[in-house]
Every structure is written in C-alpha cells, then in structure tokens.
Symmetry: C2
Subunit: 271 residues, 2 copies
C-alpha cells in the first residue's frame, strides 16, 4: 500500500458494520467539535457479529480502504466485532494510526471493578475472539472476565423494542449467568447495546457499573491525535460526511434512532 501523507487537517475516519458506530461519531463530535469526520457504515453486509473471523477481517480491510480514499489521518474502528478480529491486521496494513474500541473499554472496566469480576456482553464474534479477556488482563491481571454473547440484542434495538417488556425478558435470559457470577462491572461490548442501558440496569441491578466502549474510545482518539500532532488547526466547526454501502429498508428509522437528528447520508458502492 502506498504511504499516505497524513496531515493534521485531514478528517478522522470511522467505520462500523452498520449504523451503531454513529454513537462513536457523535461522541467524537462532542469531544472535538472542530475535527472533520468521515463515517462509513457497511450496511450492505451488516451484521458482522455472527460471521467468521476471516470474513470480518476481509470486510474491515475493505472498509479501511474506503476511508483511506477520503484521506483520513486516523482510522477509528467503531465496531466491536471488527476491532476484536481485525485490529492487528489493519494496524499492520495501513499507514495511519488505527484505534479499536476493545482496549479503551477494557481499561475502563479494569479501573471500575472493585471485586475483580467483570462481565462482557457482545456479539458471538467478539466473545469468541477473546479480545476483551486479553485486554482486561493487560490492565488488571488478577481480574476474572465472564463473557456472554447476546445475538438478539442488535435486532431488538433495530426493531425499536428497547423499551418493551420482551426486551427485559431477553436481557434476563442472557444475563442470568453474569448475575450468578456476581460481576460488579459490565462492558457493553457492541455499539448497539448503549440503547438498551435502561433494560440492562434493570436486569443487572443499579449497583453494577456499565462501561460503554463507545464513550471510552473517543478519549483514546484524542490522546493519539495530540501525541502525533494531528489535531486540526483553527476553530472552525467540523464537517461531517456519512457513507453507507446500502440504504436498508428501515434506514431512516434506524439512523434517526442513533443520531437523534437529521444528517445527510451518501450511498457508496462496495464489493
């Protein structure tokens, strides 16, 4: 791959398997309102969390290539499944810093736990990768990590049923083992899960700390940009570009759910 001339006034690139990563984009806009952003959601191939490691790596490399065409200065992998399977490949293959959501979430969980028992809820791909276990142990070698895949949470959020009794029933079913293991900290290891926070709090009890990886990663992005002298010049408000590989059936409804307000989204062709 050709060396990219990274420049501090180039945009921050973010990709996700779909629209969930918009929560990361929003957090970045809030923390660094002057930075330009290019977001790519691979809505044609969403979800990633049920697919194989090999496919997730291949999709992630293609997504990063799309962002590189937009001359991004840093790549933020907003998707947990993609971060947990492809981060090392992306870091080896692309000439800009690549930041995933796993390490920031794991560090925050390690800092938050008092009893060294940490729960992680995520997709099957993320759970099977063992990435959270690995990174939690970097920051808290003595901690025990209990993971639970929750494949129904993403469609539940996209259906707009986060507030229904059924959502609580499903959460209780998935979380019963984590409650039994007495975790005092729960990592929301998928960008959709923060939209289930109320339900998760009800299911786990008010004392369990919820760690939102999407919230944590933006601090890591800021730290890396500062360290590498990549902060944008001037005080002009950032420009935002949102790209997707498909406009799914319920696109407007789902985008609205994540964004809260209207943003113009462009369709791009992928493989």
């Amino acid at each position: 791959m050709k060396k990219n001339n990274t420049q501090n006034n180039d945009p921050i690139g973010i990709f996700d398997s779909g629209l969930g990563g918009i929560t990361v984009a929003k957090a970045l806009m809030k923390l660094m309102p002057h930075e330009d952003l290019v977001y790519f959601g691979d809505t044609a191939r969403v979800p990633y969390g049920t697919k194989s490691r090999e496919s997730i790596v291949r999709f992630s490399v293609e997504n990063a290539e799309i962002l590189m065409k937009h001359k991004v200065k840093i790549i933020v992998v907003a998707c947990n499944s993609s971060s947990s399977c492809s981060l090392e490949t992306l870091q080896a293959q692309f000439p800009v810093p690549v930041i995933g959501v796993i390490s920031p979430g794991a560090r925050q969980a390690a800092a938050a736990t008092m009893n060294n028992r940490i729960g992680v809820i995520a997709t099957s791909a993320t759970v099977n990768s063992g990435a959270y276990d690995k990174f939690v142990h970097v920051f808290a070698p003595q901690a025990k990590v209990f993971s639970q895949a929750c494949p129904l949470f993403v469609p539940l959020v996209e259906e707009g049923w986060s507030g229904k009794k059924i959502a609580l029933d499903i959460a209780n079913e998935y979380l019963k083992n984590l409650k039994k293991y007495k975790v005092d900290t729960l990592v929301l290891g998928c960008t959709h899960y923060p939209l289930l926070k109320n339900i998760l709090r009800q299911a786990m009890g008010a004392k369990v700390k919820l760690v939102d990886s999407a919230e944590e990663v933006v601090w890591e992005v800021k730290r890396v940009l500062q360290e590498k002298a990549l902060i944008k010049d001037g005080r002009a408000k950032g420009k935002y570009e949102f790209l997707v590989s498909d406009r799914p059936q319920s696109f407007e409804k789902i985008a609205q759910r994540f964004l809260g307000d209207k943003i113009k989204i462009k369709l791009v062709n992928t493989k």
Copy 2:
C-alpha cells in the same frame, strides 16, 4: 450473457441469503431423489430481509452467476426476500428457468382460504415489495391480504430459542393485528419461519392454516422440469453440493438445525 446449453442431467441450482433455504433443498431431495443439487448460501451477506431492494437484486444476480458456473439447468430462488425483489431481473438475465417461492406460496394460500382473508408474515423487504399481495390476487382476485414484517423471527430461530416462552411472546406481539383481522390462512413468507410452526400455531390458534412456501415451490420445480423435458435420466441417487460465502460463528449449530444431519459444506469466494 452467453447462452447456456441446458441439459437434463445437469444439477438443479438453489440459492438463499443463508442457510434457511436448506429446507427447500431437503424438500427437493425428498420429491426428486435422483436429481443432483447445487446449493449456495450467501452467509457472508446474510440477512437480505432488512436490506434495500437494489442491494438484494445485486446480490441475487451474483448468486445466480455462481450457480451458472456450476452448469445448473434451473435456478430455484429459495429466499423470499430475493424472490420478491429480484425474480423478474433474474428471469430476464439468465438463460435457464428461474423459480421463486412467492407465486407457489400465494397460489396455495389462495386455494386454502375460506373467508378470503390471508395473512402474510415475512421480512421487511418481502412485505415492502408487495409481491405476495400481487400474486395472491392473480389466483384469488377477491382476497384481502394482510402483511406483517417480523424481523426478530430469523435471529430467534438462529439463536435456537424457537421453543422458549420468549418466542411465543414475540409471536403474540407480531401477530396481534393479523388475529384482529381474522385471517384464516397464514403464509410463512421466510424460509426460517417453518421452524417456528409450533409457536405460530399457538399464537394464531389451531384453525388458521399455515402455508409453507418452501414446501410449495418444489412442486413448481418438478412441473417446470417435466414441462421442459429436464428430468434427469436414470435412477441413480442424486449428488449434492453445498456452497456458502462464509462459515459464520455458529455455522455448524445452525446447519445442523436446518439439515438434521451432517452434510459437507464448501466455502466459496464471493465479492
């Protein structure tokens, strides 16, 4: 596209967005045990039912091209979302007969209803296409069709929760309007739904007839093969080839759920 020399000893081609269409493959094996089959499941891009019409058409054309490389004599579109969005395009573009699941299911529903009130449950793509409404009216112009998208049913089946109380709660939520409309016939307009038959019967009541499109399409395939003199010679047992574009995380478990027994499945590269 080059004209294909179709021959009666070539295999039957079947594609689906994922593994749900294996139910169609199994029904074909039972009805015509001498025929060879090539099945392709686009597991890398599954599901289709939430995606746009344009993407579904593009994916379907690519899937049909994969089957044509295996010299199939007929293409069976086992996926309802794909049948409802792309059948006309495929029929125009490929030199072999292309059969979808919508028309056979609609015909069966039109024959089964006594009160001319037919319910259809399907993905968002299928419901939005209006394909069942259109085909039911071909066979029963006076019938009323009531459609309901049920996006949580597919992940529910893939999670293996078809027998749980939560599945019944979700079914009751989705079906409450169809019950109110007093449909006497319900089309299961997605290849995953037959695995929820018990739950659907409980939710709708024993008097409502359930129409399984996957069961109906195989009769249409046989009829077309006979009509076009494409029935395989001899009495040797058919050979089966199963291809997928990804081996998802829970692949073995899901394949097992649909097949009931072990079949060797090969990974092929798609875009």
